[in-house]
């Protein structure tokens, strides 16, 4: 696979989620920032173990839900009261209960689609300066819990970091050095 940017760092993997969780906490406590865990399924408590805060996606959902409500209310009120007022059986133009279903649907529409989109973009953008090398077959989508420490980390040391990862109990620890613009 094609490598767009150079990637230098250490790879190691664990076989069980509990081991990965314990290792992540140790990497965090050792002061590393530019590291990542690639796992076949999400592990509970990994955010905390990696020193990350809770995802802020719910705030996005809240704002988008509000946008959806305002959009639907704005459209329906404007159409039914100002732009095209029609007399249905002498009922008021502003018959707000009948605007509720569409308001609800618009809220869900904006909130759901927007949150999914923002979450995917945010997840892609939140990466270490040199992202984990996907060019290398790591088994992270199969059964391995892969630790990647990027060489861009201020605490990086070409000698000590691989030894540190081995000391965590990781299997298959290896130094990776991929040149940018080449095929791996």
């Amino acid at each position: 696979m094609f490598t767009p940017v150079s990637k230098k760092g250490v790879l190691g993997h664990f076989c069980e989620p509990d081991e990965a969780l314990a290792a992540a906490a140790k990497v965090r406590d050792a002061g590393f920032k530019h590291f990542d865990f690639l796992t076949p399924f999400p592990i509970h408590g990994m955010e905390e173990a990696m020193g990350k805060k809770r995802s802020w996606i719910p705030w996005v959902t809240g704002v988008l839900a509000l946008c959806g409500i305002l959009f639907a209310q704005g459209l329906q009120n404007w159409v039914m009261i100002f732009d095209w007022p029609m007399n249905f059986g002498g009922k008021p133009f502003w018959s707000w209960p009948s605007f509720v279903p569409i308001t609800f649907e618009a809220m869900v529409f904006w909130a759901a689609l927007g949150s999914a989109l923002v979450a995917i973009v945010a997840g892609k953008r939140d990466t270490v300066p040199q992202p984990p090398p996907m060019e290398i077959e790591t088994g992270a989508t199969v059964d391995r819990f892969v630790l990647w420490i990027s060489a861009t980390d201020p605490k990086w040391s070409a000698e000590e970091t691989p030894a540190f990862v081995r000391g965590l109990g990781a299997n298959g620890v290896r130094l990776v050095d991929l040149e940018g613009g080449s095929d791996a």
């Binding site: 509990d18 279903p101 569409i102 649907e105 689609l113 989508t141 299997n171 620890v173």
Partner: protein
């Protein structure tokens, strides 16, 4: 409290070892008591790597003869749909059975039927997710796919019911050169447009978001460079990073939380199409819950039908176990009883209201010229699922399959009863009439099944039919983990010595 070193799950090889009751580990509980653990969700002592193989296999090989046979039948039925739709558009509504006084016929029946089928998929993926029902992981992917395809089938019917389907875009409120002529936002039919389109799109996004990690798994298994490229693009470059999982899990939870009220709202709004009319038999406040429960009921029946095939033909018995089937049978029985309760409540209210018209409509429903349809509906929906009071029946795949088919027949007739019997005899006896289906009504109904099964067969051919990453998450790591390779062990030894 010490768990035994060897996992109790390592010895559960297939359905025959499942009982539907917890496994008792003698002396493993607190203070030396017994510890009860639930039975495994995946049998056969599968490893995580086996899961990839078992599930991706079907998308990676040339389709089997059985698949081609099924696909040929589905495609033929789809052809029937295309021919009948073209004929309908060319010749006009005169070729189908709708006429005075029954102006809502099989199109509306089929529409409500298919939308209802879809509801179980969202229920499984969203509601059971929020309730932390881990058994959903085996069936949610296929059930969500079922939702999408059912909504696709349902979407056809309101459009052809318009009569002039080529003006369907007039239903959308947009600034136009016709005035601008806006839709009437007071109308439940306008609410329907928003509900169905939101439901379809949100379900699609929910399904796709769930697919991302599994598409990456398919990509990483791919050998052909183009296959790798296509699945890489589809998975949006997913690499399993926990920096992605963090936002992903949050978004997935939010999608579930939004899809839950959405699924209830959709059939509620569909029921408003009827309930806001002044027609006896339609004009009742019970309709929203009655429709929603019926939808979940029929959808679960369809899920059971499809899962029976997936267990049998695709060898998914390790992932969709008898325990899964039993759980679904329980939901089927519960919703079946609720539906039966709704039927009875309608009758009670018709009598209790003292309204002559209400009373007549319900007497006419059960004992009038369409009494046979009411009989099919009541038997299939309220009586047949009572079979599942017996555990033996809940764990009998033949019983499940037959009941699931009967329930779907019954639920089609429920909509038929609601639509047709209410319309065919209203307030004025001089305007009474009968409704009968033409061959085109039958062809379009049959053809919609063709569309549904064509899409479903393509789905099982190209995408992972079980949510791989979710199933992996509910497996016991002690059983499912990979064994370290010799190189790994040598490296570990070297590290210890150093």
């Amino acid at each position: 409290m010490t768990r035994p070193e060897a996992s109790p799950y390592a010895t559960v090889m297939d359905d025959s070892q499942l009982t539907g009751r917890p496994i008792v580990l003698a002396g493993a509980g607190p203070y030396g008591g017994d510890l009860e653990v639930p039975e495994p969700l995946v049998t056969g002592a599968k490893k995580w790597s086996d899961v990839d193989q078992d599930i991706c296999m079907h998308a990676e090989r040339f389709p089997t003869k059985r698949w081609w046979a099924a696909f040929a039948v589905a495609l033929t039925l789809l052809g029937v749909l295309v021919v009948s739709l073209v004929t309908l558009l060319y010749a006009g509504m005169g070729i189908v059975g709708v006429n005075h006084p029954v102006g809502w016929g099989t199109f509306i029946v089929n529409f409500v039927f298919w939308i209802g089928i879809g509801h179980a998929g969202t229920l499984i993926s969203a509601v059971l997710y929020l309730f932390r029902q881990q058994w959903r992981t085996g069936i949610n992917r296929a059930a969500e796919a079922m939702t999408l395809f059912a909504v696709a089938c349902a979407g056809i019917f309101p459009i052809i019911h318009l009569g002039r389907a080529w003006f369907a875009y007039w239903l959308v409120p947009y600034p136009n050169a016709r005035g601008p002529l806006w839709i009437n936002f007071n109308s439940p039919l306008a609410w329907d447009i928003f509900a169905i389109s939101t439901y379809g799109l949100v379900s699609a996004v929910f399904w796709y978001v769930g697919l991302l990690p599994d598409l990456a798994t398919v990509r990483d298994r791919a050998t052909h460079p183009w296959r790798k490229r296509i699945y890489n693009a589809l998975s949006l470059g997913w690499n399993g990073s926990h920096r992605m999982w963090r936002h992903y899990e949050s978004a997935y939870m939010i999608l579930a939380a939004l899809a839950t009220p959405l699924v209830f709202s959709v059939h509620t709004i569909v029921s408003f199409d009827f309930a806001t009319a002044v027609l006896p038999g339609w004009h009742t406040t019970i309709f929203p819950p009655y429709f929603v429960i019926g939808a979940i009921f029929s959808g679960f029946a369809m899920v059971i039908t499809l899962m029976t095939f997936m267990r049998g033909y695709f060898g998914m018995k390790s992932y969709i176990t008898l325990n899964h089937m039993e759980s679904m049978a329980k939901i089927l029985m519960l919703t079946g009883m609720l539906v039966g309760f709704a039927y009875s409540t309608e009758f009670f209210m018709a009598w209790y209201s003292g309204s002559e018209w209400e009373g007549f409509v319900f007497k006419n429903r059960a004992f009038g010229p369409y009494g046979w349809a009411y009989f099919i509906m009541f038997t299939c929906n309220a009586i047949v699922p009572q079979l599942f009071w017996w555990k033996k029946m809940r764990r009998n795949t033949w019983a499940l399959f037959v009941v699931s088919i009967l329930v779907n027949v019954g639920m089609w007739f429920e909509r038929y009863v609601i639509v047709v019997t209410s319309l065919h005899r209203d307030f004025l006896p001089s305007s009474w009439g009968m409704y009968s289906l033409t061959r085109w009504d039958y062809a379009i109904l049959l053809g919609s099944f063709g569309l549904f099964f064509t899409l479903f067969l393509l789905f099982v051919r190209f995408l992972p039919v079980v949510a791989i990453s979710e199933v992996k998450g509910v497996m016991d790591p002690k059983v499912a983990r990979s064994a370290p390779t010799d190189a790994d062990l040598a490296a570990a030894r070297a590290a210890q010595e150093a």
